[in-house]
Symmetry: C2
Subunit: 335 residues, 2 copies
């Protein structure tokens, strides 16, 4: 949940409930990530993870990005904001790797690509477990071959960015089907993610072969989450979600709003250049509370998010999963 | 599984395993459906269902359909076949309703729309249970208000046609998220469908709130299924699926092939006119065994389909679901 919802407070509360909290290192400076790690450590001895973005090659020709920027000039004027520099960067990849290695966090998960075998070995030498986000069977096999310890299996239902290796892959596969396909090909622990918003869904993904469930949107109404106020008001509403490149140049699922509708078709694949291009517009819209002009990342089950403390949410999901699994097991035992 | 895979033999075998077999009445003449009902009744006393297509308004302007037909002329010449008449029809709606009412089949399920309250009442008077296929919460509420007895909740993973009320709805929602959203809004038994190919997936959808699982692709390699030979060879392969209107003018999920790639973008929403237009081409391609030129409907988990007798498949799914649910329940009981 990079870009806002992820906070140290959220990771702390999740850990207090017996869950594995995560810090999103993407989009943040390395010192900011270091400060968040220190904040979690100061509050709890519970293990937690850090999520890193794997840098990729530039995805769009500069002229496509420039054309999209030209289109957004009117949007910027309308908002009284300036477009950002559409720069290509690596999100401080090496510095963040150094940081998590030095800090020996319990788990480092990766999004947008598979780290090399060398990188994974280096983390293993620090006793750090490596999880890689995958969206299809090919990526799962590649992550296994690079010696990942677990796979975060992201279904098409997931909010935010598609976490796979290639932005051209499209919308992905539904979570149950994907878990079954991956489980058949790769013998690694699977962490299911995508549209999991309550305990029944947790029980469902465990039946489908996952060792654990990873939730994002389900925590977005917790007071500990950094969810923008304007988005909090909309999450419980029956607003459809869609995949779009309009905000960042990389496919991501968000609630449909004006910016998405107006710019989706024009947006090229061009992450992170377009992320930087639209950044100031999005920040201005968030500050104004204009939910029609920034990214409302959310999974397909966002209406089920509950405004509860994160600790209560995690405990509820666990208890409900336990109850539902027992009920289904009992029902199926009947002659 | 209209248009080929559905056969009386398949419904009979599913019933023998304790499942509820279905006959697909869509695309068939009423006498042909009557003959299939008689064939099932002659072989078994087990209950079974019949699936009907609800007719809708014409979806495309005739000139859009004509333009698509013009584009397909080259395809027809290449195959030495003729295009069909792009006619608008109602799939013998009234005659088929009369048939299933007269025959008092156990269940009639509906696809592509919600029958009126009057139609449902008429079926209820014949002690026929009415199931309506839904793809979102709005459709679920409409079906409940029309007095449906159960909802077939179709996830985005499903092979073949999107079964919802409106072709403009797009790709739908992943099955777990959709089940959770529908279960919260509508108190009716839910039949889960979409990408369910093994017992673990059955256990998963039961945990997610379904009362039953409906499988299609999982049965397509059974000898009793009418699956085209050329498609049988491809089902176990890791070929991606996509939604397309290229074959029928209505969104349906199939394995990607040449016809889909070449014509997808040009195809308007125009069911059943385009279904009739391409029918002879598809029949010719099936007869030649040319899997690049007919519709390879399949769900997202098609690689998991097993070449077993249908009775063995249904029994395996049941036994594996029971085992998996018990394992997960036990695992979650641990302190």
């Amino acid at each position: 949940m990079a870009g806002g919802p992820s906070t140290p407070e959220l990771a702390i509360a999740v850990g207090r409930a017996g869950g594995l909290g995560f810090l999103a290192a993407g989009y943040k400076s390395t010192p900011a990530v270091a400060a968040e790690i220190a904040a979690v450590r100061a509050a709890t001895a519970a293990p937690f993870g850090v999520n890193l973005f794997v840098p990729g090659p530039p995805a769009a020709h500069a002229d496509l990005v420039a054309a999209y920027g030209g289109r957004l000039e009117a949007e910027a004027r309308r908002q009284g904001a300036r477009l950002g520099q559409p720069r290509q960067d690596d999100d401080e990849w090496e510095a963040k790797l150094d940081l998590v290695t030095r800090e020996r966090v319990a788990v480092v998960s990766f999004t947008f690509g598979c780290p090399t075998h060398e990188t994974i070995t280096r983390l293993h030498e620090g006793d750090i477990a490596v999880w890689v986000t995958v969206t299809n069977v090919r990526e799962a096999a590649q992550a296994r071959d690079a010696r990942a310890d677990a796979l975060v299996v992201q279904g098409s239902e997931a909010g935010g960015h598609r976490g796979g290796f290639n932005d051209a892959e499209g919308g992905g596969t539904g979570l149950i089907a994907l878990l079954r396909l991956v489980a058949r090909s790769v013998e690694l622990p699977l962490v299911a993610t995508g549209g999991i918003a309550d305990g029944a869904a947790v029980a469902a993904v465990l039946c489908a072969g996952a060792s654990a469930a990873q939730v994002g949107t389900a925590l977005m109404l917790a007071p500990e989450a950094g969810t923008p106020t304007a988005q909090r008001a909309l999450l419980p509403e029956p607003i459809p979600t869609r995949l779009t490149r309009a905000f960042t140049g990389r496919l991501a699922r968000g609630m449909v709003n004006r910016f998405m509708v107006e710019h989706d078709r024009a947006a090229p694949s061009g992450y992170p250049a377009i992320h930087h291009l639209t950044g100031p517009l999005r920040a201005a819209a968030r500050a104004r509370g204009d939910a029609d002009a920034f990214n409302l990342w959310a999974g397909e089950a966002h209406e089920l998010a509950q405004p509860q403390p994160a600790e209560a949410i995690v405990r509820r999901l666990g208890a409900d999963a336990r109850r539902v699994a027992a009920e289904v097991a009992t029902r199926l035992q009947r002659p």
